[in-house]
Structures are given as structure tokens and as C-alpha cells.
């Protein structure tokens, strides 16, 4: 199959809705057809070629690859509803990267906007830089967040990562904002850096693992035990961790694990350990 290279021709001031930029939709189209695809920039509908220079290259792989070159931080919905193939963004990407995707992979070398992997059902998203709020969350108002797949953020993430998620995995190597795992009912969030706080609020299931510092645990969480290690997909993360269950305001079936060594202020839990 082929690699489609989309080079951004000019600076973008207004948001571009690029829900056609997925391997599924571009596969089988020739360069002219791709250039003619309509997309919205602000309130104007343009052809794709007004924004991108399109070239293509044959490669030996079975799948279609899209490479976006340039500053795409205003381009939204890259990889929308994709089910296979891969997308490589060399630089930043905008909001809604990989929205509703069911398979394939997206790699962004720069930063991404908010709602990365919104309501995704499968596949893999990797972001080398930072990301905004609502990683793997649902659209505003919905109670259906991410339902499957994996998101890897190498930098920092904003607030409410994994909001309403029902399955899948999110790994944030940098720091995390407020409320990771809010409303989540299943799946795992691993925050390797520090967290601003309120982890797992209103969670009804699933796991939030925090390796860095968490200023405090919510009062609606109950201390359970000290566990030696935590598990993220197949990886064992060495602890020890304080394990809490909550949110007791919901059904209390979620788990929050916080690393002992980075959180000396949580030492008070240990008095509740059964001897």
C-alpha cells in the first residue's frame, strides 16, 4: 500500500475540521481525489489542497499510512473513526485526535489538544509531547468515555483524564491535572508523574495508579492495604503502593493506588493496617 504525505502549506489561524484524515477514508483514493476532499476552516468550506500539499509514496506495508508534516495544532479530528492503518503527525496536532477510532495507530511527535482519543473503542494513540484535558474522555455531557484501546502520553496531561472511561488503558508519563479517572467504571490509568489531586472522584470501577505525588486522597476513599506492585496491561510496576477503594459516594468498587515512597504525607494510612 502507500504512504500519503500531507504537508501543511500555510499558517492556520482558524480551526480546521479534518474528519476525513483517516487511513480508511483516504485508502484507494488517488492524489487528485484527496486534493478535492472538502473540509471546513472556520466557517468556510475548502478543498483539502488549499491547506495541504499532497504527495504519495509506495511502501511495502499492507496498510495505508498518513503522514502529516507541519504545525497541525489547529487541525481537529485527525484519525476520526479510523479502524486500521497508521497516522503519523510530525509536530503538534489539535483537539479530538483519534476520536471514535476502533483500530490502527496514531503517533504524534509533538503535543496534542484536548479530548485526545475521545470515545475511542480500540487501537493505539501515542503522543510524544503533552496533551490537553479530557484524554480518553467522552464528549461534553455524555456518560460514555473511552471504551477500549491504549493511549500513551509521554509528556503531561491536563484535567479529567479518562473521564467516564469504561475500558482501555491510559499511560501518562509526565504529570497529571485534577480528577484523573473521574466517573470511570473500568480500565486503567497509570500516572507516572505527580497528580494535582482528587484522583478517582466518583469512580465506580477500574484502576488509577499514581507513581508520583498525590497531595491527598479524597475522603470518600477507604484505605485497604499496602500492595507490593501494580499492574498496567502486562507490565508489573514495582511499589509499594497504598491501595484505596472508592468512590464510596458511588459504589466503592474502584481502586486508587498511590506510591508509598513519593507520598510520605499518606503515612497515616498505615495505622489502619491489620497487624
Amino acid at each position: 500500500m502507500k504512504e500519503i504525505i500531507l504537508t501543511i502549506k500555510r499558517g492556520l489561524r482558524l480551526p480546521v475540521v479534518a474528519d476525513e484524515l483517516s487511513p480508511d477514508k483516504l485508502a484507494g483514493k488517488c492524489v487528485q481525489e484527496i486534493q478535492a476532499i472538502k473540509m471546513w476552516e472556520g466557517n468556510r468550506q475548502l478543498a483539502l489542497e488549499d491547506i495541504f500539499r499532497v504527495t504519495e509514496k509506495l511502501n511495502g506495508s499492507e496498510e495505508t499510512t498518513i503522514r502529516v508534516v507541519g504545525n497541525a495544532s489547529k487541525i481537529r479530528k485527525i484519525g476520526f473513526e479510523m479502524s486500521s492503518g497508521s497516522v503519523l503527525v510530525e509536530g503538534d496536532a489539535g483537539m479530538y485526535v483519534g476520536e471514535d477510532m476502533t483500530g490502527g495507530s496514531i503517533l504524534v511527535t509533538g503535543n496534542t489538544g484536548s479530548w485526545t482519543g475521545m470515545q475511542m473503542k480500540g487501537g493505539r494513540i501515542e503522543v510524544k509531547g503533552n496533551t490537553g484535558d479530557y484524554v480518553g474522555a467522552g464528549y461534553r455531557g455524555t456518560d460514555q468515555g473511552m471504551k477500549g484501546g491504549t493511549i500513551m502520553i509521554h509528556g503531561n496531561a491536563g484535567n479529567e483524564a479518562g473521564c467516564w472511561m469504561t475500558s482501555g488503558n491510559i499511560r501518562i508519563s509526565g504529570n497529571t491535572g485534577l480528577f484523573p479517572g473521574i466517573h470511570m467504571s473500568n480500565g486503567t490509568i497509570l500516572a507516572e508523574g505527580d497528580c494535582v489531586g482528587r484522583a478517582g472522584a466518583q469512580m465506580r470501577g477500574g484502576k488509577v495508579i499514581i507513581s508520583g505525588r498525590l497531595p491527598g486522597i479524597l475522603p470518600s476513599f477507604a484505605f485497604e492495604e499496602i500492595q507490593e506492585k501494580a499492574k498496567f496491561i502486562d507490565e508489573k510496576i514495582l511499589g509499594p503502593f497504598y491501595a484505596f477503594s472508592g468512590d464510596m459516594n458511588e459504589n466503592g468498587k474502584g481502586k486508587v493506588s498511590v506510591r508509598v515512597s513519593s507520598n510520605p504525607h499518606l503515612k497515616w494510612c498505615e495505622q489502619y493496617l491489620e497487624v
Binding site: 467522552g138 464528549y139 461534553r140 455531557g141 455524555t142 456518560d143
Partner: protein, 555 residues
């Protein structure tokens, strides 16, 4: 052509239209629409659909996710909008027109928020409309009835209908919403309303008498007490029975709305069953009742009602987000999103109750098709419901996919009645127009409004029982919708977007009674309300397309 009010059942006929009315004949130069091989019916009349007002708009604000995947771009003649369960006003008008509906009634509007309802109705294109203000928990109404001053109550309601430009009296959980505001709940019809000396039964009977004194074109429109509670079918029957003998024997005196929600048997959630046979039996034996289905469709929708108590219960059951409102001394209301699931036992039973009702009530003139939009599902699902009514095969297909225990418990699999096109015309337009007292709607006789729906399906060639999918497809997009003599939809697409009228009823009471009630209100408004009486009433000029119906009251 199917025109049940004029006893036309699938005959070939011509309709002549001039100046928005059906006439005897027209000159040769008239535009001709060839509808041969198609079904022609009067424009649809929806008796109960929440399309405008404060709670509908609150629902829109509460649910951005409802609109996200259903966005309509503007065209050269239509406006942009969003849809799904709570469409924007313009989209509501367009979608109704595409279904062949030309008249829609908003069935619950808090008195003091009716100005908002009319502002939205004025922005709902094509369809003619009206609204039913809420009186069942209104302090003024309850106080007058408690003091036995039925005539003053009638004069008050007439004043209020004029002030709010309302069409009929809506009663929602009479007394129950008021009780819930005090943290109490009423069971059945005979618990006393807190701080008042009367019961829901007395409120319903009192307002029913008022309705007759005022000669309103529609009956009282009642959402019963105990809605959605287990075993509530008995309350529904009691409510229907409470007004028996009050009115003219041959004329309906009460309309019970969305009976699906109030037709449950059982003693706990795990043994909820269908009370449709009992209710249908009562309706078959008594002429004073009309009902509508309130059918549910398996989908993610938004429930909204003035029954704040019910919405609180649904919020606790579902854990979904919830919006509640206390409308001063008048009523309450709530909004909760809800997803009806096939494999949920109670939802599957609910689905069965609605259809059983429609199939077991023998007279189609007294049961109407609604989904209580958007409570049971949005109105764009009507073709689906029609196919269930017309085809046992369609029902079996859906039955095979619902919760197994519910399937075994329902009578629905044994019902083999199938509606004819003529009966469908009754439950969607002729019957509803008759129940609403709209003389110029729901039929195509000379003098009727020229509201016509044409569907591209040939009843001589298609057997709706077998080819229910073709029926569904044809009804989804009308080949032509004509509103007031203008073609608004052609092949399922909008071609023109005129604005419809707003009907309201002005029932004139005697001058003496009117001034007496007005002086009562001056005192109570200062005592009860945050709004001054002089700012409360809507002027006639506030309606963009006002259509007043004058009646003379008996008082």
C-alpha cells in the same frame, strides 16, 4: 385517499385546493400534483409532543451529547440546527413536515413560563401548534376548588388561558407535585394534598367540571398520579372512573395521556407486568375516555415532565444527570436522560404495554399514536411504531430481540390484530383532530385546511403486514407535504418553509365573574408571586401568528 372523518377508505379521488382550503373545484390553470399510486392522507395531527418551552430548552442545555452526532447544516431555505431527542425549534418543524405532520400540540407548559413556550413555538416553522398550560398543582385552582367555588375557578382558568394563550387544560400528577415539594408523596387518588383540604380525585373532578363549563374544544388532558410506579394501572383506571357521569355520555370528558407509563401491574420491579388488558377493557366499555399510547422506542432519549416527583425517582433509579425546577406556586418539573434497552426487563415490558394498548382498544378513534416525544422516543420514530401496529411480522421481529422473561410475560405475541391504513389515519390525524376539537384539521372535506400528506406507497400493491419495511421507508419521507395549500416537502426534502399558526382558546365568562376573579387575583398575586399581575399576562400581539378560537362559557 384515506380520509376517515369523511368515510373515504382507500378510494381514488381528487382534492382541489384554493387559498389554503379544500374546495369543491378549481380552474384549469391550477397546479396539478400527480399522486397516483400513492397514499393521500390529511396532514398529521400530534396531540402530545414536548417540542417547546422551558423544560424542553433546559433539556437541550443539559444534553450537548444529544446533539453532537445529529447536526443539520443550513440550506438556501432551511436554517441550521441540531437534532436527536430534543431538536432545535427549526429542526423540529422541518422534521415534522417531512413525516407529513402539519399540526403539533405542546402538552405541558407551566403557566408563568408559557411566554417562553410561545416564543419557541413562534420559531417552529410549518406546523400549526398550540399548548396546554398546567393546572393540576396550581394554588389558585386548588384553592378555588377547595372552597367549592367551581364557577370562580372556571373564570380563573378562562382568565389564565387568555393570559397564557393556552389551548386546553393539562393536569400532571394532580396534587402529587405539590406534595413532593413538601417532601411527601401521595398514593392513589384519595390522599390529602398537604396544606390543602382536598384530594387528587377532587382536583380532577373539579377541573373536569370547569372544562365543561368553559366549553373548551379539548377535554382535560391528564397525566395521572403514580406515573411509572409499580402497579399503577389501578390509579389510571380510578382516574378515568373518577369523572364518569360528569359529562355528556357520548362525548369524551377526559383524555389520559401516555398510558404506557401508567399501565403497570405487579408488586416489585422484578414482576412488573402489563396492565394494558385491564385498561383497554375499561376504555372499551366506557365512552367518556380517550387515551394516547406514549409508546417507547429502544433508544437513548431525554425524559421531561412537569411531574418532578417522577423525575426524581428516575434520577435515583438510573443515576443519570437530573434537572429539577420548582415553578413557584404553579407546578414543578424535571429532566433526566434515559436509555431504553431491549434486554432490560422493565423497558421491554414498557414497550409491550404501549403496543398492547393500541391493539386491545377496539375503537381507534379513542386511542392515539404518540411517543410522548421525547419521553418514549423522538417523533421521527413514528414510522417504526406504525409498522409495529400494521404488521404482526414486524412485532415478532422486535419481540425476538427483547428481554426473554418480558417476552414470555407479555400478551403481545398472541395479538394478531393489524391496523389498516385507514385506522392509521385515525390514530395519527383524524382521531387526534377530533379529540382536540379542531374542525378544519384531520380531514380533507370541503372547507378543511389544505394540509395534506402524500406517501409514496401503493396500498393496492404493498401488503403492509408483510412489507412493513416499505411502509416504514415511505412514511419516513413524505413524497409531498402540503401545508395551508403550499407545498412544503417534496420527495422528503423541504421546498418551502412558511410559519404555522398558534391556536388558543378564549372562553368568555360573564363580566361580573371576571372582575370578581381579577380582584381576587390582584391580592393573591401580591401574596404568592414574584411577578406582578400586570406583567404576567401575554398580550395578543405577542404571538406572531395568533389564531384565536372563541367559545362562550356557561358561567
Amino acid at each position: 385517499m384515506y380520509d376517515p372523518l369523511n368515510r373515504i377508505e382507500g378510494e381514488k379521488a381528487d382534492i382541489s385546493i384554493r387559498d389554503g382550503k379544500v374546495v369543491e373545484g378549481v380552474s384549469d390553470g391550477a397546479t396539478i400534483i400527480d399522486a397516483s399510486g400513492m397514499i393521500v392522507m390529511p396532514g398529521g395531527v400530534d396531540i402530545h409532543s414536548h417540542i417547546a418551552g422551558a423544560k424542553v430548552n433546559a433539556g437541550r442545555i443539559l444534553r450537548p451529547e444529544d446533539h453532537e452526532k445529529d447536526v443539520e447544516k443550513h440550506t438556501s431555505i432551511t436554517r441550521a440546527g441540531t437534532g436527536h431527542s430534543i431538536p432545535t425549534t427549526y429542526t423540529t418543524g422541518y422534521r415534522y413536515a417531512k413525516l407529513g405532520y402539519t399540526t403539533v400540540f405542546e402538552p405541558a407548559t407551566p403557566l408563568m413560563k408559557t411566554r417562553h413556550t410561545h416564543e419557541e413555538l413562534d420559531d417552529t416553522p410549518i406546523v400549526d401548534k398550540g399548548c396546554f398550560p398546567l393546572f393540576g398543582n396550581d394554588w389558585h385552582t386548588i384553592e378555588y376548588l377547595q372552597q367549592g367555588r367551581v364557577e370562580e375557578c372556571a373564570a380563573y382558568i378562562a382568565w389564565m388561558l387568555r393570559a397564557t394563550k393556552g389551548y386546553a387544560i393539562k393536569i400532571v400528577n394532580p396534587g402529587g407535585v405539590e406534595a413532593w415539594k413538601w417532601g411527601r408523596s401521595l398514593v392513589g387518588l384519595d390522599d390529602r394534598v398537604p396544606n390543602f383540604e382536598l384530594t387528587p380525585r377532587e382536583i380532577i373532578r373539579g377541573i373536569c367540571k370547569v372544562n365543561q363549563l368553559l366549553h373548551l374544544p379539548h377535554t382535560i388532558h391528564v397525566h395521572t398520579n403514580d406515573l411509572a410506579k409499580i402497579g399503577n394501572y389501578q390509579t389510571t383506571i380510578d382516574t378515568m372512573d373518577s369523572v364518569r357521569g360528569l359529562g355528556n355520555e357520548n362525548k369524551p370528558s377526559i383524555h389520559i395521556t401516555h398510558v404506557q407509563f401508567t399501565g403497570r401491574t405487579g408488586s416489585a420491579w422484578h414482576n412488573v407486568g402489563s396492565g394494558a388488558p385491564e385498561i383497554a377493557d375499561y376504555v372499551n366499555k366506557h365512552d367518556h375516555v380517550t387515551v394516547d399510547m406514549g409508546q417507547i422506542v429502544f433508544m437513548n432519549t431525554t425524559t421531561m415532565t412537569a411531574d418532578g416527583a417522577f423525575q426524581y425517582m428516575l434520577y435515583q433509579l438510573s443515576g443519570n444527570k437530573w434537572l429539577n425546577s420548582d415553578v413557584e406556586v404553579e407546578t414543578g418539573s424535571g429532566v433526566v436522560p434515559y436509555r431504553y434497552r431491549r434486554n432490560n426487563y422493565v423497558n421491554a415490558i414498557q414497550w409491550g404495554i404501549g403496543l398492547e394498548l393500541a391493539l386491545l382498544i377496539k375503537d381507534p378513534w379513542r386511542v392515539y399514536m404518540t411517543t410522548d416525544h421525547p419521553n418514549g422516543g423522538d417523533f421521527t420514530k413514528y414510522p417504526k411504531i406504525i409498522s409495529w401496529l400494521m404488521s404482526r411480522k414486524a412485532r415478532e421481529k422486535s419481540l425476538a430481540r427483547i428481554n426473554r422473561i418480558a417476552r414470555n410475560k407479555l400478551d403481545l405475541p398472541d395479538l394478531d390484530r393489524e391496523y389498516s391504513f385507514s385506522e392509521i389515519a385515525v390514530v395519527t390525524r383524524a382521531g387526534t383532530a377530533k379529540a382536540l376539537g379542531l374542525k378544519e384539521k384531520g380531514h380533507l372535506g370541503v372547507g378543511a385546511d389544505a394540509d395534506v400528506a402524500v406517501y409514496n406507497i401503493d396500498p393496492r400493491k404493498v401488503d403492509p403486514s408483510r412489507d412493513f419495511r416499505l411502509v416504514r421507508k415511505a412514511l419516513k419521507k413524505a413524497a409531498f407535504t402540503i401545508k395551508g395549500g403550499r407545498i412544503v416537502v417534496k420527495n422528503g426534502e423541504m421546498v418551502e418553509t412558511p410559519m404555522g399558526r398558534t391556536y388558543w382558546v378564549d372562553s368568555s365568562v360573564s363580566e361580573g365573574l371576571r372582575s370578581k376573579v381579577e380582584s381576587d387575583l390582584r391580592t393573591t398575586f401580591t401574596k404568592y408571586y414574584s411577578v406582578q399581575m400586570d406583567n404576567y399576562a401575554m398580550a395578543d400581539s405577542e404571538l406572531a401568528h395568533s389564531s384565536r378560537i372563541n367559545v362562550k362559557a356557561d358561567v
